[in-house]
């Protein structure tokens, strides 16, 4: 918002900033409606079903119908529940899921807050996400939600550690915590993207895979959806939630998944740059470049989301001890070694050459 205020004055700059935020929120919510439908359609296709196909052409308006249903139903609060915390929990999940998007650059120059500690902010916000779940589980005053909440807290805290280390490998290679810098460091063809850049590909490609798996665990997606494993815990921390609070949980959850897709995109897959060159290589006029960049970013987001949906469709659920074992005994040491290797590479050979161009 700072640059806007400098450009349009305090009053109009403020409203321009608010407008920007609203625009991104509406974009996210609309995308979410179709991503949800896409998720269900992919899942249905894998199982040779048709999926939602009644509301609107090809079932395109299914998510909106679901939305109306959730909003119009009665909110049931259990008698023994801790009312304040019970209502607060979905609100926290929902708000934090949106707050994280404040630092995500969705196209060259299109970002609400270009923080110098952007990636740390993302990490901080995503580490707060656990509160919504644990508070919801506790406040329901019921055994299944409580167990689900505890499981979830343990799971998310465990996988945050490996996500943190994987982030550090990228940060060490880039030399900046600013998210725009991280994307610009990958300016160029697919061979410049962090996941495939020579010679760090040997470290970074496995890191991409590990980040993807950790992201699945962090967002409670199958095969790591143990907090809400229906065969064991009915629906985990969401058992007592109905109508709008449930909707808020749901939106928060899907928004976090989308955020993880965006993070993979930004950290490893070149953000808004094309596979065959930087976005400027299209030769578009200045006003059209961000739009094209946004289209590329958005397309990559959908591809990543497709991966998430496919994993949900084809991989069976993990056992809880196996989940913990992977997190602590395999991912943590491996990512720690990767940090050491990446740091050693940077210390002996310097940063990959492009950093000098983009860092300035």
């Amino acid at each position: 918002m700072g640059p806007l205020i400098a450009e349009f004055g305090p009053v109009w700059g403020f409203w321009a900033g608010v407008g920007q935020i609203l625009l991104i929120m509406i974009m996210l919510l609309l995308s979410l409606a179709f991503l949800l439908l896409f998720d269900r359609k992919v899942w249905a296709a894998v199982q040779l079903r048709k999926g939602p196909n009644v509301v609107g052409p090809f079932g395109l308006f299914q998510s909106f119908a679901d939305f109306l249903k959730f909003v119009l139903k009665e909110i049931v609060i259990p008698a023994g529940a801790n009312k304040t915390v019970f209502i607060l929990a979905p609100l926290i999940t929902f708000t934090l899921a949106f707050a994280a998007w404040a630092v995500i650059p969705i196209a060259p120059g299109w970002v609400i807050a270009n923080l110098n500690v952007g990636i740390l902010y993302l990490f901080a916000i995503s580490s707060l996400g656990v509160y919504g779940i644990i508070m919801g589980g506790w406040a329901s005053n019921s055994k299944y939600p409580f167990l689900g909440g505890l499981r979830s807290a343990a799971q998310m805290v465990s996988y945050e550690v490996s996500i943190g280390f994987i982030l550090i490998t990228v940060l060490v290679l880039v030399g900046s915590l600013n998210i725009t810098d991280i994307v610009e460091n990958q300016r160029g063809s697919i061979l410049r993207w962090h996941a495939f850049a020579w010679p760090t590909v040997f470290v970074m490609f496995p890191m991409l895979v590990m980040f993807f798996i950790s992201a699945l665990a962090e967002t409670n997606r199958p095969p790591f959806d143990l907090p809400e494993a229906e065969s064991e815990l009915v629906a985990g921390y969401q058992v007592e939630y109905s109508s709008t609070p449930y909707l808020l949980f749901m939106i928060g959850e899907y928004l976090n998944i989308t955020l993880m897709c965006a993070m993979i995109n930004i950290l490893f897959l070149g953000g808004w740059h094309l596979p065959w060159g930087p976005i400027e290589s299209l030769g578009l006029p200045d006003w059209a470049t961000p739009i094209a960049g946004f289209a590329v970013f958005y397309a990559k987001l959908w591809v990543m989301f497709f991966m998430f949906a496919m994993v949900k469709a084809i991989v069976p659920r993990y056992r809880y001890d196996q989940l913990m074992r992977i997190g602590w005994k395999i991912f943590l040491p491996t990512s720690l070694v990767a940090v050491a290797v990446a740091a050693g590479y940077v210390a002996y050979f310097g940063r990959p050459a492009i950093a000098a161009v983009a860092g300035g």
Partner: protein, 201 residues
């Protein structure tokens, strides 16, 4: 103007929620207020221009330490009526600690007000050097040994905690993943030839 408003809002919420931590009846509410306090402290750090420290505070304290607090407090069955019984008997000791802290704070502020802070106090960041870079430069040069020592202390504490809680019990089933994965069909499956009408007896 805006900064002053932000400071007073953050500071007052921090103080009020810190008070609520000790006065809340429900221990879980206490921890939630503690989290609010941390959060406001992080906001104050941002106002000071130390955004790196603010993020670290949120990541480490709010994201990890407070989650564990919450975890433990939720699972403990604490009878708070009983715990509050002897509340007043701690009053002299608590009051003494409070008075000492107040005295020290007054001493520090009055010393700074009258004779200024120490000469090598941090100056404003030069242009183009980020917070994280500055902290890293200091931490890994001047204070390298202290930093490593702190890490070592934490490491020893972690091992200590594991040793304290680890106990070997005989006669319980344990899982050995390499054994499970390395099992062949021959070891796992036994074919029995069951005669009709006789069973395996």
């Amino acid at each position: 103007m805006l900064e002053a408003i932000a400071f007073y809002v953050l500071a007052s919420v921090a103080v009020l929620s810190a008070f609520a931590v000790v006065s809340a009846r429900n221990p879980v509410h206490s921890v939630l207020f503690l989290i609010l306090t941390f959060f406001n402290a992080a906001g104050l750090f941002v106002l000071l221009g130390a955004e790196f420290l603010a993020m670290l505070l949120v990541v480490v304290y709010v994201g990890a330490v407070a989650v564990l607090f919450l975890f433990v407090v939720m699972m403990l069955d604490v009878d708070f009526v009983e715990l509050k019984q002897g509340f007043l008997s701690y009053m002299p000791l608590g009051g003494l600690v409070g008075v000492v802290l107040l005295g020290e704070m007054l001493l520090v502020t009055s010393a700074v007000r009258t004779s200024g802070a120490f000469s090598d106090r941090p100056t404003a960041l030069p242009e183009g050097v980020t917070n994280a870079e500055r902290i890293g430069r200091v931490l890994y040069t001047d204070y390298l040994f202290l930093f490593q020592l702190a890490g070592l202390v934490l490491f020893v504490a972690m091992i200590g905690a594991i040793v304290l809680t680890l106990r070997k019990r005989d006669g319980i089933k344990r899982q050995d993943v390499s054994k499970q994965v390395g099992r062949t069909r021959k070891q796992g499956v036994e074919l029995k030839d069951v005669r009709p009408g006789q069973g395996l007896g």
